[in-house]
């Protein structure tokens, strides 16, 4: 595995950004600043980071309801993200999407999505556009273990494999579909075995090991860029929080979370970087302080942004039609 020290630091920074953004979102949700549903990515940072470290700005991703990590790793702006979570007019979606619908076409982010499994077919469509135009871009499709029971998983993988589309399907197997454990929602242990049905390579990696993810996705991306078709990569990981904030997580066996906290991907990466003299303790402190400032800034940006003008609810339904509002 060849990763420059500079890139290693960049990846570490991304992990920190996700961790601290999510921690702040958790706090702000508890304070009542963030309405609706929030699904946090805490604990799964290595997957988005390792996968997106292989991508260019012009590559695409499709994301999920648990999408903040993917968006940050693909270059999403923290200010606009936080403002969207707050439902403000400077948010990515101008306050019309919230946590589950952040997108940034200029960065290839085709959107988080509130429908479990919606991304598989959309990613195949992105792959079709890439192949049609003849570029060497790729699309990474993120999804959870539970979504692999949706018909869309099978439809998307099938289409991508028969047409050899440049899509990398990255399954974040966090062991649960909401409250239902993997053992109760599917009769397989490794999601990657499902690749066989679509005659594509399927691998399982430790999703809390950012290097394992980076390497597996890197290989798949290289294949996709060369026109050799899709790959299914399963990253075994765990969410430190519940399905959504407010989830009492009564379905978790005792000791499970504690065991996974010991495998926290961030200290793991940090130790590697220190042991291999990539980074000093001082640099780590500085990076933490830098990211804290970014999060404070994003929080302030969101706080200071206005609530959307009511008429804006009528905009963006179509490119060219604005429906009538109501007078109140």
């Amino acid at each position: 595995m060849k990763i420059s020290n500079e890139q290693l630091k960049e990846m570490y920074l991304t992990m920190l950004k996700i961790r601290k953004f999510e921690t702040r979102a958790m706090d702000k949700f508890a304070e009542g600043k963030i309405p609706g549903f929030v699904h946090l990515y805490l604990g799964e940072e290595a997957v988005a980071t390792g996968a997106c470290a292989n991508l260019r700005k012009d590559d695409y991703i499709t994301s999920t309801h648990r999408g903040h990590g993917h968006i940050i790793a693909k270059g999403g702006e923290l200010n606009y993200m936080m403002a969207e979570l707050f439902g403000k007019e400077d948010g990515y979606c101008r306050g019309k999407g919230g946590s589950m619908h952040i997108a940034d076409a200029s960065k290839g982010i085709l959107g988080a999505n509130g429908i479990v499994g919606a991304g598989h077919n959309i990613a195949a469509g992105a792959g079709l556009a890439i192949q049609y135009k003849g570029t060497d871009q790729v699309c990474v499709c993120f999804f959870g273990d539970a979504s692999t029971n949706q018909s869309t998983f099978h439809e998307g993988l099938n289409l991508a494999s028969i047409w050899k589309l440049p899509v990398v399907f990255v399954c974040e197997n966090n062991g649960y579909g909401i409250s239902v454990s993997q053992a109760r929602h599917q009769a397989i242990t490794d999601v990657s075995v499902r690749a066989t049905a679509y005659n594509m390579p399927g691998v399982t990696v430790d999703g809390n090991d950012v290097f394992a993810v980076y390497e597996a996705v890197g290989e798949a991306v290289a294949r996709a860029r060369k026109g050799q078709g899709p790959t299914l990569i399963e990253c075994k990981t765990y969410r430190f929080r519940g399905h959504f904030e407010g989830d009492p997580t009564v379905y978790r066996p005792s000791g499970e979370l504690e065991a996974w906290l010991k495998k926290d991907p961030i200290p793991r990466m940090e130790n590697y970087l220190k042991e291999n003299n990539v980074i000093t303790e001082e640099e780590i402190k500085k990076m933490n302080a830098d990211v804290d400032k970014m999060i404070d800034d994003a929080n302030a940006f969101a706080d200071n942004s206005k609530v959307p003008a009511l008429e804006s609810a009528l905009e963006d339904v179509y490119t060219d039609i604005v429906e009538e509002g109501r007078i109140r």
Binding site: C93, I102, A126
Partner: protein, 323 residues
Amino acid sequence: MRTMTYAEGIREGMRKKMMDDPNVLLFGEDVGKFGGCFGVSAGMFDEFGDRRVRDTPISEGAIIGAAVGSAACGLRPIAELMFMDFATVGMDQIVNQAAKLRYMTGGKITLPMVIRLPEGGGVSAAAQHSQSLEAWLAHVPGLKVVYPSNAQDAYGLMVTAIEDDNPVIFIENKTLYAVKSEVEDELKAVPFGKACVKKEGTDVTIITYGKQVLDAMKAAEALAKDGINAEVVDLRSLYPLDKETIFKSVEKTHKVVVVSEEVKRGAFSGEIASLIAEECFYECDAPIKRVGALNTPVPFSMGLENYMLPNDKDIEATVKSLF
């Protein structure tokens, strides 16, 4: 003037835009070498090749999803579902993805895509291959819905649909595919949101679209013999809707019959009727009437199906009930 079939009108519209714009492509079940289940894309595979005219697996979610994803990335896909009934299998992609991605992302994603849906009964195809479900789709903000009744409009609306930067539901009627109608020597685009007054009249307005335009014209002819001069309005576009033409006609005739092939309960025809009731109630001097299919699934056996579906005689009788 020359004549053309409805299917040819659709095909010529697609061909025109595929020749104009290299980013336009067509995919769906059997649209390639086979030429489409109803022959609408016949010859297009040979003309444009398998890169631009693609057979898909029988996988409606993937067909619509691939249209959403490829449109988000700069293509202008035309996705065909073999029967509108199959939209149910790809409904998440139509309703939750295609219709809403632009809105939910605050305009960050644009989806220039067309979904072709052949609908309607009259071919003994029974309840899963004969439905008219336009009300479901016209109900959803984010979609535009058009439905031509003749070859000229089929061409013109298809051209406009492909040029539109929003998801467009293009409804086709199976029994019209082989029907010939007159077209201009030089075919032109038809704008959305512009109804067409097919026949001017003074005594009653028949508002309809799709196949029922033909039935309404037949009924109008019969009514004329009884001294009732009916005006026939072909909506062409369900959303955006040409309210102006509807209201103008009601203000002229003061009587309205709305006709569609839909099961009457919850039909789009009800939307038109309620719109007239809300906005020009005082122009009406009789109850607003609707003609539609019976509230049952579409039956198979020909006699049963004919009984269930509305026809020109039902329109005629309903109009007469107002006099």
